[in-house]
Symmetry: C2
């Protein structure tokens, strides 16, 4: 492990390692890659673990003679082990034997690996990360504005709202800067947020005319395309989680 | 229990009961109250359990000589017992001895009772119900639109997005009509949704200029007003729930 607070220089670390994982705040990733890439040989492996893939892979390929692999660990620092957690893997033109061995190590520790492209990663990760963070920030801002804070809602909480608010608590314990940088650097984020905003606007436009049927239509159209399993799993597991919260 | 599918008439039921709870779809509540209210005497108790309080209390007071109490059980049909669940109680000018006894029964079964006003109920319940349902409907619509469905997101899911999606599953198993009627009848719903939409719009407006700092600002402003306990509880309990999901 080499960082701003360690004695070991990049050059010393690079000379000793089989693989170097660049796991730094996203706004520093490309600079670190440009610095460390040239120190690696074709017998080594350079990996980035950043949350947005648009530019970083190209920078790696340009900056090093080493094998190049891109990953994204889909979880934060509070997860204790890899078992059952998602890792996205993006192969490059220079992902070879070393990259394969590295993937095998992740597999061995129980992670679920999915191979995709940079564009696909960015497009789908906005739905599970950017949109999730934006909704949480906006909801908590409204709760502060209209209720003074989440405590005022405790008597009005439902099984669903209690779970959502736990997620809000977790997100607000994360890094605001990291979430904002991930949102800003992801080329797919704007389209995702606009699609969400348009749905909210349509419900508001109806309500302004005293018509709330848009909400029912949306829920029913969604339901028609969702599997029974998705709905039953949500109902069953939220129920179990709620039981756990009451104990 | 009297309903559309029972032999017992309202008159028969009313003559036998100490208390009558009107627990029907919200769009029928006032009609049922007008029908059953006159059948009750001052020695009986009329209670509504509807999700929006603006008009229903007035209708009860006008329709009966009985004691009048208004409650809202803040949970759906999947909850098996009252322990730890919230019930909102609104006293009226004619909540007396019978109403008090009824509240004692709910207490005895472990419910958390909170006494408030109709206006306060409607204002705060939009934050835990209307907003929750609207966010879920809009998010699932966007996921259908951009990813084809939630299954496509499985490899990209994070600990947070998995919990949110369980809540989405549960909400989409509920009654779309009930959710829409509750939203439409709640006078506070429009202000709540507009406040939420304004936050989303502000983030989108920034992103259109390549600036995602609004998300960081919001998260930080929220965090400054949230207690450490709220954030720590969210982090701890979502972690425990996620462990449970992996088992």
């Amino acid at each position: 492990m080499v960082g701003r607070r360690t004695e070991l220089s990049y050059a010393q670390a690079a000379s000793r390692a089989q693989a170097v994982i660049v796991n730094v705040p996203i706004e520093h990733a490309e600079n670190v890659i440009r610095e460390i890439g040239p120190l690696l040989t074709a017998q080594q492996l350079l990996i980035d673990n950043t949350g947005v893939k648009s530019q970083v892979i190209e920078t790696m390929l340009k900056s090093t003679a080493a094998e190049v692999l891109s990953i994204h660990t889909m979880f934060g620092p509070h997860v204790r082990d890899l078992k059952g957690e998602n890792i996205i893997v993006i192969h490059t033109a220079r992902s070879g034997q070393m990259a394969e061995e590295f993937e095998n190590v992740l597999h061995k520790h129980g992670a679920t690996l999915t191979v995709t492209t940079a564009a696909e990663h960015d497009r789908l990760a906005t739905l599970t990360q950017g949109l999730e963070h934006v909704i949480s920030a906006a909801r908590m801002a409204v709760i502060q504005e209209l209720a003074g804070g989440p405590e005022a809602l405790t008597p009005f909480s439902t099984p669903n709202s209690r779970l959502s608010m736990l997620v809000d608590g977790r997100i607000h314990g994360g890094s605001a800067e990291l979430y904002a940088t991930m949102l800003g650097q992801n080329r797919a984020a704007l389209a995702t947020l606009k699609a969400f905003g348009a749905q909210i606007d349509a419900i508001i436009a109806g309500l302004e005319c005293g018509d709330s049927s848009r909400l029912a239509e949306l829920l029913k159209a969604n339901r028609a395309r969702l599997t029974d399993e998705f709905v039953e799993r949500g109902t069953l597991l939220t129920g179990q989680l709620q039981d756990k919260l009451r104990d």
